[in-house]
Symmetry: C3
């Protein structure tokens, strides 16, 4: 029995409509979030500020008790990712596994992924209304998937 | 072969005991987290404070380098969500997919979801011992699911 | 049909290579993240500092508007977990469900889990280069899984 499952399992999920696209979007979003974290470190290094004594000593940076405003901005952009991306990815996976209508699923996945990429740039560069607009597109994608899930589990 | 999987896939997961309830709880928790974020924005707007110059200009708010105490409180409530909800949802999905005992799974899902909803209100309104109590119920649900998962993978 | 799925479902995922290990790592990481949060509360209690008036009153602690540097350090360690662990667990689940090469998957899961455990201790104790090293191992594991996923969905 386990033999059977091992054999089918490697193809099972690829057969779910939208799973390939979901996997691609999840990987892109995870890398994007990582990039924002990397940018925080790079900004601290450029400004020669550090929050930990061991980092100040290592990079010849100034030890600070409060974050530099430029670092704060990147941290806020990153935090907004943390508030939105993991929960979207969980909701998205549920939508894939439940088999919600494929076209709607694909639109939500692509819209969310593209919007959150632009969002990061817009937040860090202080570009409005782009930041609010892309945030809104991301939120709308999440709500649309949620509604499709509710309809599917009640059907 | 792929044809077969596409046909079964849309019903496969609905057949997992507890998956419907899990999906519902995940959607409710994602929307609840979003609502806390929305409440942060609303609180900033009400207090006429902004952290970004572009927001200060847009909403006629005062630019601040530190968050207002009332906003800080909502941010802490939200951060506690970030610390608890995504990891619970991942652990919960694993529990569903592994087929842990259904009754235990259902109790944990409902208890966690209800507790975290009350938690947000209790934190924002400063209502103790409700904040600690609901935090504890959430943590207990997460640990119970973890133990059920460990038993299942070792069995 | 649903009967069939209910019967197979409880064994289906255990047949996916690496799913047992993934489940174990996810549970360990969720508990570890929780432990860091617990350590934050314990540090506040030891230093007799509180951010909320209701906590200050309850624990006889001093109400503060800014976090104590020692608490800040634990919060930064925890935040780094939030930035890395949920997205890794989602990427890891996708890798399991897609059936990426098992050996690579197992190495990434074990390396990430071990590295992030050491990371927390290294951050809280200010131990360098261990903090940077374990962060790097975690990031490398996440990128390796991402590449394996991309290869799998394009194949």
């Amino acid at each position: 029995m386990n033999e059977f499952f091992t054999n089918v399992s490697s193809n099972l999920l690829l057969g779910f409509p939208g799973f390939r696209l979901y996997a691609l979007c999840a990987v892109l979003l995870a890398i994007k979030m990582f990039a924002v974290g990397f940018y925080t470190a790079r900004t601290r290094l450029r400004l020669k500020v550090a929050m930990n004594p061991e980092d100040a000593a290592r990079f010849g940076a100034e030890l600070s008790t409060t974050e530099h405003p430029e670092v704060e901005r990147v941290l806020r952009a990153h935090r907004n990712d943390l508030e939105n991306i993991p929960s979207f990815l969980i909701v998205g996976l549920i939508a894939v596994l439940l088999g919600v209508p494929v076209l709607g699923l694909q639109i939500c996945l692509i819209a969310f992924t593209a919007a959150r990429m632009v969002y990061s740039v817009a937040y860090i560069k202080g570009m409005q209304p782009w930041r609010s607009l892309t945030f809104g597109v991301g939120a709308l994608s999440m709500f649309t998937l949620s509604v499709m899930i509710i309809i599917r589990i009640l059907a």
